[in-house]
């Protein structure tokens, strides 16, 4: 446990909150029970606001790429446009097709959205700024994201529409084939940080600021992970399951109103989540390019001083979100740069290219870890 001794504990909101409530005369159990919903609601709100920002960015950047202006009238620079979109979806009629399977049709979007939101459990914004530092950390995200294809198959099947069924099958095939290289890329990182916990993975990268980020030690893994994350999110080079020109809208064809909004929310929350996890795994998470401990030392401040802790926590959140949205920006640019792949190209890329490369990457990482334990987390 050297890592915990080296790294300052930072801001611990839970301890402060529980202490304050106990000061008011509550029992420790009740105080913790009152604390429990707070981070969950905060993260849920943050995820939804993240989606609104994302939709606005998508519209504005797409417009800029195509030399249009984009949304302009709803609020300054059209920032209220995503809200208007959301409101429109809330008030739309909720249609279940006549011969569709009503139960599965309703359950499908829910099964797509819930695992994505659950995965936010392990996204850290600071040393103690996450819902729960579970030991299986990043593995939890991988296993939760494997539930999603069931929801897609369910909605594709129950729509009673051949385009929907084809879209659902494509989505499941795509998600299964890209999960394996994704997991192997994550495994190489886990090998280096000796832990599955996202907090430990970030702490292992915070020794020397930007120089110790994993992207320099895992460049191949970074590319594999990013490609697979885009494929899992069904972003444009890989958006075959909902390819408009071939399949109308894939598994979403028959959906409208709030059920469609759930798919929409799910895909954007997933994109933000993937970007956040790329920044956690490869770009140093909440770490500032120059370690905050060094800066505090140069300014002659103690790391444990309350003001420094506040500033550290704030920079941590800002850095994590900044890195994530930089990646989202790249994803949106990619959408307008790269043409869609065919289904056979997609499966070839996944099984015949990314999988062997990810295996070799894992082997090389293990060999380097044995050869240079200093640099590769011995």
């Amino acid at each position: 446990m050297e890592t915990t001794a080296l790294v300052s504990s930072g801001l611990d909101l839970q301890a402060s909150f529980v202490d304050a409530l106990q000061g008011l005369g509550l029992s420790p159990g009740a105080a913790r029970l009152l604390w429990l919903p707070l981070p969950m609601v905060t993260v849920l709100v943050a995820a939804v606001v993240g989606v609104l920002v994302n939709v606005w960015l998508e519209r504005k950047i797409s417009a800029a790429v195509q030399q249009r202006i984009g949304p302009e009238y709803a609020g300054p620079l059209g920032v209220l446009q995503p809200m208007a979109d959301g409101l429109k979806l809330v008030f739309k009629e909720d249609i279940i097709p006549a011969r569709a399977d009503g139960l599965l049709f309703t359950l499908g979007p829910v099964l797509v959205l819930v695992p994505v939101i659950l995965s936010w459990l392990v996204v850290p914004f600071g040393q103690n700024l996450l819902i729960s530092n579970v030991g299986v950390g990043i593995f939890l995200w991988i296993s939760l994201s494997s539930i999603q294809p069931i929801g897609l198959l369910m909605s594709g099947y129950s729509s009673n529409n051949k385009y929907s069924l084809l879209g659902g099958l494509r989505a499941a095939a795509q998600s299964i084939s890209y999960e394996i290289p994704l997991a192997l890329a994550v495994l190489a990182i886990v090998l280096m940080s000796n832990s599955l916990s996202t907090v430990d993975i970030v702490n292992q990268q915070n020794g020397a600021g930007i120089l110790s980020w994993n992207i320099w030690r895992q460049p191949v893994g970074f590319v594999i992970f990013w490609i697979c994350a885009l494929a899992e999110c069904e972003r444009l080079p890989f958006d075959l399951p909902e390819a408009e020109e071939e399949l109308v809208a894939g598994y979403q064809t028959e959906y409208s109103g709030m059920k469609f909004a759930l798919f929409y929310l799910g895909s954007y929350i997933n994109l933000v989540l993937s970007a956040l996890l790329v920044s956690v795994l490869y770009l140093g998470g909440w770490g500032f390019p120059v370690p905050v401990e060094w800066l505090a030392g140069w300014l002659g401040q103690s790391v444990d001083a309350p003001v420094v802790q506040m500033i550290t926590a704030t920079t941590g959140i800002v850095m994590t979100v900044l890195k994530a949205y930089l990646l989202v920006f790249f994803a949106i640019l990619l959408r307008w740069t790269v043409p869609r792949v065919r289904i056979d190209q997609l499966l070839d890329l996944g099984w015949k290219f990314l999988l062997p490369i990810a295996l070799v990457n894992l082997l090389v990482t293990a060999a380097l870890k044995l050869a240079f334990p200093m640099a590769f987390g011995g």
Partner: protein, 211 residues
């Protein structure tokens, strides 16, 4: 009883109900698609039970392997072949159902007897919590190395078998019997669709078909 143990009890009851009712649904529902989706629900319920027992790694692995891989493959298979046709009526269906129900009930009684006669409260080692992942890894590479490697050999055999089945065009003869494999079934001969093959009986090729 404290708050935490009450909630744990409640979670156990809900999860157990999900597993039992879901498993009954898998067996009894006539629609195979519902059965497959319910199977996913049962797997998730079992993962929840593992989580209650502080085995978070096993729970995550259960979700990844059983829900994410096995159940999705089952659904895939069902959806690729699912033709909505009514099954032919089998004579003596009631008798068959009664017989299989009797066998299941007998098995259930046997399991119940085992469950009630076994002394369950064994003093096991202390729960390790989050350290369990490390402990599992140590066991897999020391005293459980042989089963671990045997499992990987089994998976390799399954994979090679799948490749042999899928790429039978590579072999011109059957692997076991040595007889020539009917290539026509696997790879269609490239007859031009618009030309009647019977008109070509004279032997003179009407059109250059070779590339």
């Amino acid at each position: 009883m404290t708050l935490a143990s009450t909630i744990q009890q409640l979670c156990f009851l809900v999860l157990a109900a999900v597993v039992v009712v879901g498993a009954l649904g898998v067996v009894l529902l006539p629609n195979i698609v519902y059965s497959a989706f319910l199977l996913g629900g049962v797997f998730l319920g079992v993962a929840g039970l593992y989580l209650l027992l502080n085995a978070s790694f096993v729970a995550a692995a259960q979700i990844l392997v059983y829900v994410g891989a096995v159940n999705v493959l089952i659904l895939f298979a069902i959806m690729l072949v699912n033709k909505k046709e009514t099954l032919a009526v089998i004579p003596g269906l009631l008798l068959r159902r009664l017989l299989s129900g009797g066998v299941c009930a007998g098995l259930f009684v046997l399991l119940l007897r085992v469950a009630f006669t076994t002394h369950w409260a064994l003093p096991g080692p202390l729960p390790v919590g989050e350290e369990a992942t490390i402990r599992i890894g140590e066991h897999l590479f020391s005293d459980y190395l042989l089963p671990f490697e045997l499992a990987s050999v089994l998976l390799l055999m399954a994979m090679i078998g799948a490749i042999v089945l899928a790429r039978r065009d590579v072999y011109s003869s059957d692997v076991i019997t040595g007889e020539p494999v009917d290539q026509g079934l696997i790879e269609k001969t490239r007859t031009p669709l618009l030309i009647d093959p019977s008109a070509n009986a004279g032997g003179q090729p009407l059109l250059e078909t070779t590339p």
